[in-house]
Symmetry: C2
């Protein structure tokens, strides 16, 4: 794309796009997908609140100490929108259980949702304004990703954080109803606050990236609102974001603007939800196990043998026949398939305490064999297949197979039942049970909420209800980290 | 340098160096230089408080709203150490009048001083602990710079911000007396918070970089204190700070550790102070004009002609015979020399309002000619020379010449009188006159202060005294920005 001097700089053009956004341009599919992602993010945020990364942050002197109207989810504590964003934003990524975008090479919702709740609560925004700001934020960060990836990701940047800073600035500017000039300033300030390197993957600092970048994006927008100034050529400048973060010749800025909003990125099939709180590579096998159990009505006692045949690439880091720790269990395709066959679900509590030593599960593990699927070539284009074969005690052999199943979304959305299953499992870590269903229902009609306070009221918990912090289980680096250029959740 | 696996990772080795620091290793020269730099930074911070970048930041919702014991300089307002660092840190760089390090390619004190005051006030630290933390912080950021520069600077990073984040983390960890393990964590968290690109030079966002990076460094240390975790190989990891920010093959980590503290970087001759609040390239000519006026006792009325002959490289962006704005005046070697000859000083107020239209000055400008010095080769190694020749009405011709004069420091320190001249000029923008001399005296014996609160008491001003915000004058980009690889203040 050639940018003529009359057309404006990249931030100016981007700001115009953000400001020109019209709620009427939202298709039903956009709204539905946005609502689902927001709902799912609220769920995982509630699950992340008791995690040590969130709790240590909350206890840090000066953090969340400012008075304000923005809720720390799952508590009665309110603070500034900035710090509520930092806390809830970190919580939302604490378990790496949030939705993702293949194009972003990261997680599109977490830089936005906590921030938008905090800001919308402070400013009394409507659900519709929230969704519009969210969709524009997603568009901004994923469009930027299309322009800079996968070089950006492969080089070592954590795009959820670096590009999420711009997404958050765009979404906040939109919710604040900033004019194009101030919106451009917000994006320009954001360019100086972007950070986050992948060397810290697999530690508490990874979720911190999210709270930090979301807070920084909001800070950029608030500063711009107050008249703060930055350069207007922060993208194309020879020492601007593109050249400094990516490097000359490693980006294509045309992709930022071409077909903007046609359709909205939130509709992209490369966007998905994580249905189960374990390594994404185990999900196709879990899905097949659940399908088998449901459709063949298998009882655990009937099982004589389990064969798991994932794509070889998925098995490499999930071949853990006898998990000894909760973390092992998250990366054990054998364990999660056994759990799915036994319970008909894979839940957060299955990765806590001694859940992986459950005797029934241990018996199933002894009957299990996992090996790379012989029909799925190592260099195949689609690498997210799995087959699960169960031999029953009566000699019957039943199986289910899928050839590619990346997350849930796009053309393979989670059903309302599945969403509820995950949401209630997550939310129960921070909310009393009686608030969970009303919250879920409220979020399912988010676009009609007249004030976000109607939602946050259901996210508030008095001290009596506060859950104790639980031990976190982080993936070791290298295992959790996705292979280069083929980013996966 | 080859790092054996038994020796530990880079952050671990660095943390050991920081923790092993012994106050007894400080030479008199280190202490004197540290004290001078700290004193000078306090002065420019007070000058930067009324600037719009600081004032907008202070009014941003949620900023400096947390209760706390750390003072916002020049006010009666106290807040968290984190936010006091953000505000005072931004103020300290608002005028680009703070000290600098050639090796850093940036300003070594501003990421540290505001942060250390905020934290020391909160924790009741001594002046000696403050100086130790400062020296270690300077060592960390400049040593890192020696390992990554000048590629780091030339690529477009703002080293004061990116490396300053580590400097602040190191200094804060030291003041908090963290053990080597937690100090390493602080540095590792800092690696994920480093940011700041040069595209935003010449705007309010440049000083924001400093407040932001200082706050981030402190945040990293506070999180580490609370038990937060990060990776331990954030420097050498293939997607760590060195490879991601600089790029493979563009750094030499050996320089980080060789001769650590022998002597302390704070003693380096490449460290200097800015004596005058205008473009650094005009300073040699100002110095010669002041020397002439003082030694030849010249009165303005006696002047018939002024010739200014700076090194050609210095003249390119300071050849402004008739400045029309305050900003022009900052980049007019003709104006600042006339001002030096007339007043015997160049002060902040000389770049405010219509000071540059002073009739006496205008008359001198009409008598002035500036051209590149014929004896100073364009490609000479030393490029900071200037000669000033004044012809008097009685026909006498007097001149002074210097062949290289970069800033003030190292072997060419400012005298106490010169320090006071700058300090009192700066401090008077935020402090009532009666506090300035006691503050100066207190800072001149900082190492013997039993509690930093003794200093901050003198930085506190009741609401009655608060000065109104003044219009800021920013250098346009390109002019303020130093030429690549030969970084200059």
């Amino acid at each position: 794309m050639t940018l003529s001097s009359t057309a404006g700089t990249i931030v100016q053009l981007l700001a115009e796009k953000i400001c020109a956004f019209d709620a009427r341009s939202l298709t039903k599919r956009s709204i539905a997908q946005a609502r689902t992602c927001i709902l799912d993010t609220v769920g995982v945020t509630l699950a992340g609140i008791p995690e040590p990364c969130t709790q240590i942050l909350l206890k840090t002197p000066g953090i969340a100490a400012a008075p304000g109207s923005s809720l720390i989810f799952g508590s009665a504590r309110r603070t500034s929108a900035l710090d509520a964003t930092l806390i809830n934003g970190t919580a939302s990524h604490a378990l790496d259980f949030d939705d993702f975008s293949g194009a972003l090479g990261g997680h599109h919702s977490v830089p936005l949702v906590a921030m938008l709740f905090a800001l919308a609560e402070e400013r009394g925004s409507t659900g519709e304004a929230f969704i519009c700001a969210y969709v524009v934020g997603v568009e901004t960060e994923i469009r930027l990703a299309r322009a800079v990836n996968f070089h950006h990701y492969d080089k070592g940047w954590h795009p959820t954080a670096t590009l999420g800073t711009f997404g958050a600035a765009a979404a906040a500017a939109r919710l604040l109803d900033l004019d194009p000039s101030k919106t451009a300033m917000a994006l320009s300030i954001a360019a100086s606050l972007a950070s986050g390197i992948k060397a810290n993957f697999g530690t508490m600092t990874k979720p911190l990236h999210i709270g930090h970048s979301a807070r920084n994006g909001l800070l950029a927008a608030l500063l711009a609102e107050g008249g703060f100034e930055a350069a207007d050529d922060v993208f194309e400048h020879h020492q601007g974001f593109l050249n400094v973060f990516n490097g000359p010749g490693t980006f294509d800025i045309e992709k930022l603007f071409t077909n903007w909003g046609e359709p909205w990125e939130i509709e992209a099939t490369s966007i998905g939800l994580k249905q189960f709180p374990c390594c994404g590579s185990t999900h196709p096998a879990i899905m097949m196990a659940l399908q088998l159990r449901r459709e063949e009505t298998i009882n655990t006692e009937q099982i004589a043998r389990i064969e798991i045949l994932p794509h070889g690439r998925r098995l490499r880091h999930t071949d853990t026949p006898q998990p000894q720790t909760s973390l092992d269990a998250k990366f054990s395709v054998q364990y999660v398939v056994a759990r799915a066959l036994k319970d008909g679900a894979v839940r957060l509590k299955d990765f806590e305490g001694d859940a992986h030593f459950d005797p029934v599960i241990r018996r199933l593990l002894d009957l299990t064999e996992a090996k790379p699927h012989p029909d799925m070539a190592d260099d195949a284009e689609e690498q997210w297949g799995a087959e699960v074969i169960v031999t029953l005690t009566d000699g019957r052999r039943v199986s289910r197979r899928v050839d590619n199943l990346v997350g849930r979304g796009g053309d393979n959305p989670m059903t309302t039942d599945e969403l509820w299953e995950k949401f209630s499992d997550c939310a129960s870590r921070s909310l009393p049970r009686e608030q969970i269903a009303p919250l879920f229902e409220r979020l399912e009609t988010l676009e009609s909420v007249s004030s976000i306070a109607q939602v946050t009221r259901l996210l508030e918990v008095s001290v009596l209800h506060e859950a104790p912090a639980k031990k976190v289980v982080f993936a070791p680096r290298g295992e959790q980290e996705a292979p280069e250029t083929t980013w996966v959740p």
